[in-house]
């Protein structure tokens, strides 16, 4: 009986608590990754079948846990469901629309991007200088906020079209020419 009363007190006091909206870093990044699908167009070859899943891949050590899985569960882009794949090696990457490259792969970003070449895959990472090194979208932690940095040339080179709505909220950078 005492326990029940204690539970009830905790509940009612909890209900009265005021809170500010805060979220975990990778929760927000997962939602960004999901949103990107709606602001990007791939060439028709990337999805010959209108019901083919939109594949979001994660390369390297996965910091997203189930956040990304939870985000895309039950969601569709038109007729296309979403699917999450986790890759250890570059050679595992077959069909893929959006590729999140983990910070664990920072040291070999150049090698990864070179291997992907002009394949129509939207590359995303939160590794340092990812966009300047030829990646398409970089998450930048600015104090407690997440900003986007986009390398438009890199996207264009792979025939990936990024909507102006996304470009508007991002900082556009170029790959420095030697």
């Amino acid at each position: 009986m005492a326990l029940l009363k204690a539970a009830f007190t905790v509940l009612t006091s909890a209900l009265l608590l005021v809170q500010t909206p805060r979220a975990s870093e990778y929760q927000v990044k997962a939602v960004f990754l999901f949103n990107f699908a709606q602001f990007v167009e791939w060439p028709a070859v990337a999805a010959p079948d209108p019901q083919m899943p939109v594949i979001i891949g994660i390369l390297g050590e996965d910091p997203l846990g189930t956040f990304l899985d939870e985000t895309v569960r039950g969601e569709r882009l038109g007729l296309r469901p979403f699917e999450i794949r986790r890759y250890r090696e570059l050679t595992d990457i077959t069909a893929c629309n959006i590729l999140f490259i983990s910070r664990s792969e920072s040291e070999r970003v150049a090698e990864i991007l070179a291997a992907l070449g002009k394949r129509p895959i939207l590359t995303v990472s939160d590794g340092d200088d990812f966009a300047k090194r030829g990646g398409m979208i970089q998450f930048v932690n600015d104090k407690n906020r997440i900003r986007l940095r986009i390398n438009l040339e890199a996207a264009q080179a792979a025939n990936v079209t990024i909507s102006s709505k996304l470009l508007r909220v991002a900082e556009i950078v170029r790959t420095p020419r030697p």
């Binding site: 009363k5 539970a7 809170q19 909206p21 927000v28 846990g65 939870e70 595992d92």
Partner: protein, 635 residues
């Protein structure tokens, strides 16, 4: 209405709480509604509650997805549970199933905790599950998590050898009208309808109803057994996502059924439950969930016994990150049962009417070591019950994700199976002189389990392996009161035992449209009498389990309209029932001419005209081959 009940109803009406994972989803749902601008203005915290991927879980877990259930053609929860190869599943007759993990199987198997949306469904009568009344609309199931091995620290008593967690979809994900109808042999007829929609700006609801009728099984002489049955069930679910990310959900189910039996009269079953859950994230580092439910069951087996059972249950769980390394979960629970048995000439529960309560509290800390790759989880549950007082169930686990695709885990746990009414209060016949005179001294059975597991993902291939050794003390025995006089006997803890084995699964995606899955379990159980015990059964009454089982599944999509699925299973003999080994095949063909309509034909147990899965030669029933057709329309 008593004050206790009034307070309880208040709590039920005021609050509610899903497992931690569901909470995670709530905040994600809220984030998904934001614009890019808003998303960029969210404050983020880098050290926060991070939901664990199953791949990293330090226990032997298998997940049955909605796709798996649909492809299997399963029409009941026990049929769907066959998809988890770490479970032993045997159909006993038309309505009864023996389901367990890591052995100790039987129709009154008592070492498994089964939850449907957080509601415990094992009965305090015998710590097992009446599978005939555990039903859900299978198309509303999101997933079924099956953990083999002890889960007592987090989940509580009875999670000695495993946990089955059935999780249905959020009301938001079950919009529109879904009508299903079909029938055939064995499953004579099945019909269901579900409708879901929005409720105000932040709420969603669904209501459903279903009914089925099943054919009897066969007696050993080839005649139909008197066990045909039919049942109806209905229910609802409301989910409300408040804009400030509070989340409330309320759901309930009602059922009523009639089952034929050999003695005069019909078995009547009916019941219902209502549950409220409330989840409140304080921040990305801390959240609270509370759930409360009321569950009522009625069962009348003319000539054997009758029961009316009320269960009241409330659980509170708080999860928080402490510092940069500690992910702490703690909580407490309270459970009250009010059980009234109608005794018969055949058997009696004495006293016939009992009220019992359980208090529990638990705490668990997952400590991140070595750059998030190595986690140590320490925790314990402390429980108080009216039979044996305090029980402590600690566990320690380690998981080491030494590369993104490889995880090694290990655990040591203590778990207890506390007494249920059948262990202490069962007398037979219903009047003295008794042949069986209860179990006045029955204590808890205890287990100490050692586990080791490995998971590996290599491209489209996923492998998992778990090995275990468990030592049991004080297993249930039947003791002669005045040996060598054979009767009367009492229930006691005169046996010890051990079990060991391994569970392996492999999934491979051959192409985007073709997936295959294999599961294999090898298992040994030894039970022996302790000095002074007069029980010479060597555990024959406690475990009916094959030494090995194998399952193979294939799921193939042919274009946008057709799919072909098959599942093969082999189970070795159950030696102490002289039940021969058997192999069976289920298959399903589905055609979706338009997006809204799916037509399918499914065959179950196709390899033999009939076969037996459980029971001694005299008592066993044969399960017949079954074929049914089904149409499903989603608008």
């Amino acid at each position: 209405m008593s004050p206790r009940r009034t307070l309880f109803l208040l709590v039920v009406l005021a609050v509610s709480a899903p497992p931690a994972r569901a909470q995670q989803r709530d905040s994600i749902e809220a984030l998904k509604h934001l614009t890019l601008d808003q998303l960029m203005n969210i404050d983020v915290m880098s050290v926060s509650l991070r939901p664990q991927r199953l791949f990293e879980t330090p226990s032997a877990i298998q997940v049955i997805t909605q796709d798996d259930i649909r492809a299997s053609g399963a029409t009941s929860l026990p049929e769907a549970l066959r998809l988890a190869s770490n479970l032993q599943v045997a159909q006993v007759d038309a309505r009864q199933w023996a389901i367990s993990a890591r052995g100790f199987n039987g129709t009154t198997a008592n070492k498994l905790l089964v939850l449907i949306d957080g509601r415990t469904v094992y009965t305090p009568l015998f710590s097992g599950v009446f599978w005939d009344v555990q039903d859900v609309l299978l198309s509303d199931v999101d997933r079924i998590e099956v953990i083999s091995g002890p889960g007592a620290t987090l989940w509580g008593a009875n999670a000695v050898n495993g946990v089955i967690n059935v999780i249905t979809k959020d009301a938001k994900d079950t919009g529109g009208l879904l009508v299903t109808g079909g029938g055939g042999t064995e499953l004579r007829g099945l019909g269901s309808a579900r409708y879901g929609g929005g409720l105000g700006a932040h709420g969603n609801y669904r209501i459903y109803g279903k009914a089925f009728s099943r054919d009897p099984t066969l007696l050993s002489n080839g005649q139909a057994a008197p066990d045909g049955w039919h049942m109806g069930q209905g229910g609802f679910r409301l989910d409300w996502d408040a804009p400030d990310s509070n989340r409330l959900s309320l759901h309930g189910d009602w059922y009523d059924g009639r089952i034929a039996q050999a003695s005069p009269g019909h078995i009547g079953v009916s019941g219902g439950n209502v549950m409220a859950k409330w989840a409140h994230p304080f921040s990305a580092r801390s959240n609270l969930t509370v759930q409360a439910y009321y569950d009522r069951t009625h069962r009348d087996i003319p000539g054997t016994f009758g029961e009316d059972l009320d269960i009241y249950d409330i659980d509170l769980q708080h999860r928080t990150v402490v510092g940069t390394r500690h992910d702490v979960v703690w909580g407490f629970g309270y459970r009250l049962i009010n059980d009234r048995v109608v005794n018969t000439a055949a058997l009696a529960f004495l006293p016939p009417h009992v009220a019992r309560q359980w208090f529990s509290a638990f705490a668990q800390d997952e400590i991140a070591l070595a750059s998030d790759r190595l986690h140590v989880t320490l925790g314990t549950k402390i429980e108080h019950n009216d039979y044996t007082g305090f029980e402590i169930q600690p566990s320690g686990r380690v998981n080491w994700t030494f590369s993104p695709s490889r995880t090694l885990w290990a655990g040591i746990s203590r778990a207890v199976r506390t007494p249920s009414r059948i262990d202490r209060e069962l007398y037979a016949p219903g009047q003295p002189p008794y042949f069986l005179a209860g179990g006045p001294g029955f204590r808890s059975e205890t287990e100490l389990a050692y586990e080791l597991g490995y998971r590996h993902q290599e491209g489209a291939l996923v492998l998992a392996f778990a090995g275990f050794y468990s030592r049991y003390r004080g297993l249930r025995s039947l003791e002669q009161v005045n040996p060598p006089k054979p009767t009367p006997i009492v229930i006691a803890n005169g046996q010890d035992g051990e079990s060991y084995g391994g569970e392996a699964t492999a999934s491979y995606r051959i192409t985007d449209d073709w997936q295959v899955h294999a599961g294999y379990t090898e298992l040994r159980i030894h039970i022996w009498p302790n000095p002074g015990s007069t029980d010479t059964s060597r555990g024959t009454a406690e475990s009916h389990t094959p030494n090995r089982q194998l399952s193979l599944r294939s799921s193939l999509r042919l274009g946008a309209q057709w799919s072909v699925d098959g599942g093969f299973r082999y189970l070795a003999e159950i030696a102490n029932q002289q039940l021969p080994a058997y192999a069976e095949l289920d298959a399903r063909l589905s055609w979706r001419p338009v997006a809204a309509l799916e037509l399918s034909v499914a065959g179950r147990n196709l390899l033999h005209e009939h076969h037996a899965e459980f029971g001694t030669p005299a008592a066993r029933r044969d399960i017949e081959r079954g074929v049914y057709g089904m149409a499903q329309w989603h608008y």
